[in-house]
């Protein structure tokens, strides 16, 4: 899921592509996907940020896995940030990647 420019390539490798802009319809689309039996939903970082509240609802379920991917505009380091956040949540502080530079 994401803006067209970021995701059209994935159609060629066999993923289903759902173009979505940052508006109210995006949240609805995400819900349709999540409740519609999709196990993995890749979503561009920009849209992920926009839909954060909706995504948080699915966080505690085993499925679907909603995974942010960098869009056409490049990585904002948000994905790495999220990994760090889960370390912080579990350990109490970021002991693993604290001194490494994020981004990729």
């Amino acid at each position: 899921m994401g803006d067209r420019d970021s995701i059209y390539g994935f159609a060629a490798v066999g993923l289903e592509v759902i173009p979505a802009e940052e508006d109210a319809a995006a949240g609805r689309k995400l819900r349709d996907l999540a409740d519609g039996g999709y196990a993995v939903i890749y979503i561009t970082e920009r849209l992920y940020k926009f839909l954060e509240a909706d995504i948080a609802e699915y966080q505690e379920f085993v499925l679907p896995a909603i995974i942010p991917i960098p869009g056409a505009s490049g990585s904002s380091g948000m994905g790495v940030e999220m990994v760090k956040k889960s370390v912080e949540r579990a350990v109490g502080s970021d002991i693993l990647f604290g001194n490494e530079k994020g981004g990729g």
Binding site: A11, G14, A39, A65, V83, S86, A90, G92, G104
Partner: protein, 223 residues
């Protein structure tokens, strides 16, 4: 420390002692669970991080390739070419139980696993740039799927660890000390009652002896 209001009785004392044993045992078990979860989590999260970095590098490369392709090939040709996918990713989702945390396991199968004929467009109207772009994206795909598994697993485990840690801490720093306090309070109260009872009995005995034998009177007379 704020103490719970309890009846200082023997029955209550036994109940509290039993509760304390359960709490201590639960604490130990939870602590073990937390340690093991943490160990598993650290393994998983390291994998998660390296996969994510790999994916982001791969996607950045693929995006650059697509921009190149887009520059060369007219947009309608490109769009129709990419719309008709020859390849299809089937996904089977299972669950794995890591220390009581259900994490997803994905198994994916490509319709064309060998990649033969995986380009969905005619080669006559497109350039090699597009082939390279699609290829680079196809290469990242397995990483993306593994990442989905690892990342979701990490999130779920992080939540579980947090929960367990809170429980361990609550037991260690609140519940167990409170129980010890209560037990101490009951014991002291019972001892106190015991002593006062003893004294009362001694006093009564003195009084009864006095009544029976009139010691004091005799002592006074002998003087």
């Amino acid at each position: 420390m704020a103490k719970k209001q309890v009846n200082p009785t023997r029955m209550e004392l036994t109940a509290q002692k039993r509760k304390l044993i359960t709490a201590v045992r639960g604490h130990k078990l939870l602590k073990d669970k937390r340690d093991e979860l943490m160990r598993q989590f650290l393994i998983l999260v390291r994998e998660n991080m390296s996969l994510r970095l790999e994916m982001e590098r791969g996607l950045a490369g693929a995006a650059a390739n697509f921009i190149l392709a887009r520059a060369v090939i007219p947009s309608p040709v490109l769009d129709t070419g990419l719309l008709l996918a020859n390849q299809e990713v089937g996904l089977e989702a299972g669950q794995k139980n890591i220390m009581g945390v259900l994490t997803p396991v994905f198994q994916f199968n490509l319709r064309n696993p060998d990649g033969a004929g995986s380009y969905s467009y005619g080669l006559s109207f497109t350039t090699g740039d597009l082939d390279i772009a699609v290829k680079s994206l196809a290469d990242v795909l397995p990483v993306m799927l593994r990442l989905a598994e690892a990342e979701k697993g990490c999130q779920l485990m992080a939540a579980e660890i947090e929960k367990t840690r809170r429980r361990v801490n609550a037991l260690e720093y609140t519940v167990i000390p409170e129980m010890r306090e209560t037990i101490k309070y009951i014991t002291m109260k019972l001892d106190e009652n015991e002593r006062s009872n003893q004294i009362r009995l001694m006093k009564v005995k003195d009084m009864m002896l006095e009544q029976a034998h009139h010691y004091e009177e005799k002592a006074w007379r002998e003087r």
